[in-house]
Symmetry: C2
Subunit: 84 residues, 2 copies
C-alpha cells in the first residue's frame, strides 16, 4: 500500500470520528455537553496541521485536515446556536 | 517558526482535545454517552497516522499521534469498564 493511501485512510478515519458529534447536535438540537474550549483547541490543532501539510507539501495531511476543519467549524457554529 | 514546531503544536492541540472526554469518564465513572464504534474508527485513524509518520520519517506526526493513540486506548478501556 502506498504511503499516500495510508495517509488518506488515516485522515479519513480521524475526520470521520468528528461526525457522530455533529450528527448528535443536529438530531438533538441541543449542545449542552459540548465544550467550546475543547472545540477551539481542536480547531487550532487542525488548522495548524493544514499549515504543516502545506509547508511539507503533504497532500494527505492537507486534504484530510481541511475536511476535519470544516466539520469542526460546523460543530462550533451549531454548538453556539444550540448552546442556549 | 520551523515546520517541526508547527507540527508539534498542531499535534499537541489535537491530542489535548481528547483529554476532556477522558477526564469526564474518570470523574463521572460513567460512559453511556461514549460511542465505542467512533472510538475504534479514531483508533484505526490514529494508528495509521503513526504508521504514515514512520514511513515519512516525520517525527511530529509520530510523536503526537502516539500520544493521541495512548489517550484513545485509555478512553476505550475506561469506556468499556464503565459502560455497564
Amino acid at each position: 500500500m502506498s504511503t499516500e493511501v495510508i495517509g488518506i485512510v488515516a485522515g479519513t478515519c480521524t475526520a470521520l470520528s468528528l461526525l457522530p458529534q455533529l450528527v448528535k447536535i443536529i438530531q438533538k438540537k441541543e449542545a449542552r455537553d459540548i465544550s467550546l474550549f475543547y472545540l477551539i483547541v481542536l480547531l487550532a490543532g487542525l488548522s495548524l496541521w493544514v499549515w504543516y501539510g502545506i509547508l511539507r507539501k503533504d497532500i494527505p495531511i492537507i486534504a484530510t485536515n481541511v475536511t476535519s476543519t470544516i466539520l469542526n467549524i460546523a460543530i462550533i457554529i451549531l454548538g453556539i446556536r444550540y448552546k442556549k
